[in-house]
């Protein structure tokens, strides 16, 4: 079993961190994982993306061009990358920035809208807008669970930011909930 994912968005939207936490959660689950960022002369407001693989087997290429899951936090990412997703794959898009009827949908792909900004605002901190992604990916892939993510956050955030974990986990739960409810 191998899950190949791409997380893409504007720099600052937290796609690299979301991908890292998911990779780390997969590691906590005892799976083989890899996280590979795009890198270059990047700047705030530019685009950023990373490939994440969670696998039971030895991971071949860490650079993913045929994801089962694409997380698109902005419209340019969705438009430039949705063709890469394999048949029966899932696209989780940020419905706070991408309107459902503006999407040129591809047949055979499951689209899930995730109102990332609204969820974050509801929780009172716009910085957690990337956390619903984690909950949504958790629900779609079942590759890891809440405990794994919590451990990943503890390891990534360190002692000083550990107090932020509860809030982040709430945002994760909202993401999961959105997928379960099937709200697009």
């Amino acid at each position: 079993m191998e899950t190949k994912m791409i997380f893409a968005g504007f720099g600052g939207q937290g796609v690299l961190l979301a991908g890292q936490l998911i990779a780390e959660a997969g590691m906590q689950k005892g799976k083989n994982v890899s996280w590979m960022p795009s890198y270059g002369p990047e700047m705030r407001g530019g685009t950023a993306n990373c490939s994440v693989v969670i696998s039971d087997d030895i991971i071949g290429t860490p650079i993913i061009l045929d994801p089962q899951i694409l997380v698109a936090m902005n419209k340019p990412s969705l438009e430039s990358m949705q063709n890469m997703v394999v048949e029966n794959g899932t696209i989780i898009y940020n419905s706070s920035l991408i309107k459902k009827d503006e999407i040129n949908k591809i047949n055979g792909i499951n689209y899930i809208g995730l109102p990332c900004s609204e969820i974050a605002l509801e929780l009172g901190n716009p910085k957690v807008q990337n956390m619903p992604i984690i909950g949504a990916v958790m629900e779609v892939t079942k590759s890891f669970n809440e405990d794994d993510i919590k451990k990943a956050m503890l390891s990534k955030f360190g002692e000083t930011k550990a107090k932020m974990i509860d809030l982040n986990m709430e945002a994760v739960a909202k993401g999961k909930e959105t997928v379960i409810k099937g709200v697009n």
């Binding site: 890292q20 990779a23 994982v33 590979m36 890198y39 030895i58 071949g60 860490p62 045929d66």
Partner: protein, 351 residues
């Protein structure tokens, strides 16, 4: 230390610290900056640690010469353009037989090139790189854990043979995060450095690469050659996968070997019997081992993130016994699984 999700660059630096590396000299360059950054954080906290961000790569490698000559475990790192600047110093290290670990996180060239991953410094790394008759050992990791293990081994082998060892990684290995466990592996006490310079109060050792008497220099070169032959006899590392029933053998190292592994899985699903030969030491290159592994195959495909450099060693190994084809991209473009799969399919149709 338990398994941690780490960037290759950070893991290489941390592995060096756990192997007893006390000195680091370097100059920043993408895609290996996290390595220098981590070294600065860690070494400055050690009582006997030394970190200098030098004024240039030329200065850095000569600082490495000094630290190595004084008997310290020392490392430097860079990418292609910086490695080119360091070649004079590496030649001097080889000439004076000084141990050092040198990391090259390769990017596209030539010249300043670009900052995206490449494997185009193969020739430079495996043929000495600088002037004179010499070789450096070259380790090519394909994942972050292997990078950790090879860096730690590199320090031991550098001391054992009194020779520079190059870790030839690429931008993917440097930038990628994977789980890695870094153990304490400081074996420096096993290597008695009675040749090191200790200051005027201590020994009268002289470390030099200058021999004006050609007869003396000839003897020095013959001794070096004997050392290289010993390394060739004892230090070859490689890995094979799916090779037993293979009709086609792919040869690839580092990141490209992983893309090849993905392509092999897809090819096998299509019924094409293809296997992987992955050199881990690029010098010494597993010449005999490669020929032996290819024995029952029809042909060989070489995949590289360059215009084709290792392919010459593969041809040397096969001694004309098999047809060899090439697939690769240069300049920072990473060959895709699909491209390698197509090369496999093409090879499978050849007679």
């Amino acid at each position: 230390m338990e398994k941690k999700l780490m960037k290759g660059n950070v893991a290489i630096a941390e592995a060096a610290i756990h192997a007893g590396c006390k000195c680091f000299f370097g100059y920043p360059i993408t895609p290996q900056n996290e390595l220098i950054e981590h070294m600065s954080k860690r070494l400055l906290k050690l009582e006997d640690g030394v970190f200098v961000q030098s004024e240039s790569e030329v200065a850095a490698i000569n600082m490495v010469f000094g630290a190595a000559g004084a008997g310290a475990r020392v490392m430097t790192s860079s990418s292609g353009p910086g490695l080119s600047l360091k070649q004079e110093g590496i030649s001097f290290l080889a000439g004076a037989e000084l141990p050092a670990v040198i990391v090259n996180v390769m990017r596209g060239g030539p010249g300043l090139g670009g900052i995206q991953p490449a494997q185009s410094d193969y020739f430079q790394a495996t043929r000495g790189g600088g002037h004179g008759d010499y070789y450096t050992m070259v380790y090519a990791p394909a994942n972050v854990q292997e990078a950790v293990d090879l860096v730690q081994k590199a320090f031991d082998k550098a001391d054992e043979y009194r020779n520079p060892v190059i870790i030839l990684a690429d931008g993917v290995i440097g930038q990628m995060m994977e789980p890695a466990e870094i153990k304490d592996n400081d074996n420096s006490a096993n290597y008695k450095k009675d040749w090191a310079v200790t200051g005027k109060e201590g020994s009268h050792n002289i470390l030099r690469s200058l021999y004006l008497d050609p007869h003396e220099l000839n003897i020095h070169n013959k001794n070096l050659t004997k050392k290289y032959e010993k390394i060739e006899a004892n230090e070859i590392m490689f890995e094979t996968a799916f090779i037993d029933d293979a009709d086609i053998m792919i040869v690839a190292y580092g990141t490209t070997s992983r893309i090849a592994r993905s392509a092999i899985r897809e090819a096998r699903e299509k019924g094409i019997k293809v296997g992987l030969f992955r050199p881990i030491t690029l010098w010494p290159f597993p010449l005999k081992e490669l020929k032996e592994a290819a024995k029952n195959t029809k042909n060989v495909v070489v995949a590289e993130m360059s215009s084709g450099q290792m392919i010459y060693d593969v041809k040397l190994a096969l001694e004309g016994s098999k047809p060899v084809s090439f697939v690769g991209e240069a300049g920072g473009i990473i060959p895709t699984t699909k491209q390698i799969l197509e090369a496999i399919e093409l090879a499978s149709k050849e007679e």
